[in-house]
């Protein structure tokens, strides 16, 4: 608990440093900063990650994904992502079994903490893959979310 808080603080410090160095470094692999059509239109997570220059991401235990094990409704699946990796500048999300897996990249600057809450559509049960960019390197982890048939209720 303590440690993760400290690393967040450290991440904040690193952020300030990188902000001072300029925007280009903040978006490794997204230097052009345009909405990346080829990544968004890729049919697999691997292809999308390649298009984003994230193919070499290494497994990390310092990324927390909070999402339901079984989604009540695949149309709205809440996902909380926190990176405990110092110097985190962005979080990218890939819903591997969706027709277009790349779901988005969230960039943090000037004091924003490496955390995001989003809600996504899952076509079927899928690993939720997260890639974190930090100090020019990429880190990744994934969590499985199941989508089932519900009743009529509400």
């Amino acid at each position: 608990m303590q440690q993760s808080r400290r690393s967040v603080v450290r991440a904040g410090g690193a952020l300030a440093l990188f902000a001072a160095l300029g925007g280009a470094l903040l978006r490794p692999g997204r230097a052009l900063a345009a909405w990346n059509k080829s990544a968004f239109e890729a049919k697999s997570a691997v292809d999308a990650m390649r298009a984003l220059g994230m193919a070499n991401a290494e497994e990390s235990k310092d990324i927390e994904i909070r999402a339901p094990d079984i989604a009540e409704n695949g149309a709205v699946v809440p996902i909380d992502i926190t990176s405990n990796i110092p110097g985190t500048t962005s979080i990218s999300v890939f819903l591997e079994k969706n027709p277009f897996p790349y779901t988005g990249t969230f960039d943090f600057a000037a004091g924003a903490m490496p955390f995001v809450h989003l809600r996504a559509k899952l076509g079927e049960s899928t690993p939720v893959r997260v890639v974190v960019a930090a100090v020019g390197k990429f880190y990744t982890t994934a969590k499985e979310v199941k989508v089932t048939i519900g009743g009529c209720g509400g």
Binding site: T148, I149, G150, G151, C152
Partner: protein, 201 residues
């Protein structure tokens, strides 16, 4: 002109309903209001609000009619079960599983003979964890009861008309109301009774 007449008639019905609501029993008030404040939609006509003998008895006696009436109604429902002409009660359990999974049927926009919705209420096959608990588990149905003709007939008749065994059962009468076809009921019977069905694995 016609609209005006309809409006007058509606107003008349409203007055009648309001009077009924105030003066008579809650049941009469409810019946009058439902008659006025429902309308036919798609395949669901206003006739669906009329009780048949079974529904009337269950409504009147809060789902436990007196023994004599109960036996009489059960007998009548059982007598109405139409058995397959070819004498065969088991169809294809794989098709039966699909029918059991499909919850559509008899709502406004449905066509007849769509699904049985069995998983809405029952545990059946071992691979589906998304099952309801309104009815008992049917897992290992045949294995536990045996695969004989008598049990086959019981399963088929229960699907055809659950009220033949329990007058105020919450289970629909799939054959009696034409929600499932004969072939579909055979398939669901096979899902429960075929030794090769995953239900009996």
């Amino acid at each position: 002109m016609r609209l005006g007449l309809a409006a007058m008639m509606a107003a008349g019905a409203a007055v009648l309903a309001a009077c009924a609501a105030l003066q008579s029993s809650p049941r009469d008030g409810a019946l009058a209001l439902m008659q006025r404040d429902f309308h036919a939609e798609g395949i669901a006509g206003m006739d669906r609000l009329k009780e048949d003998d079974v529904q009337a008895a269950c409504n009147k006696y809060k789902d436990s009619p007196p023994a004599e009436l109960d036996a009489k109604l059960r007998g009548k429902q059982y007598a109405g079960v139409k058995w397959p002409a070819d004498g065969k009660l088991l169809g294809d359990w794989k098709a039966g599983e699909k029918i059991a999974q499909n919850g559509r049927g008899m709502t406004w926009r449905d066509k007849g003979g769509v699904g049985g919705g069995c998983y809405n209420c029952h545990q059946i096959g071992p691979d589906t964890t998304s099952f309801g608990t309104i009815g008992p588990s049917l897992y290992q149905f045949g294995k536990l009861r045996g695969y004989g003709t008598d049990i086959q007939r019981y399963a088929y008749a229960k699907i055809y008309n659950a009220k033949a065994y329990n007058v105020c059962s919450q289970m629909p009468r799939f054959g009696h109301v034409g929600a499932l076809t004969e072939a579909q009921m055979k398939d669901v019977t096979a899902l429960l009774m075929d030794p090769a069905s995953p239900v009996n694995r």
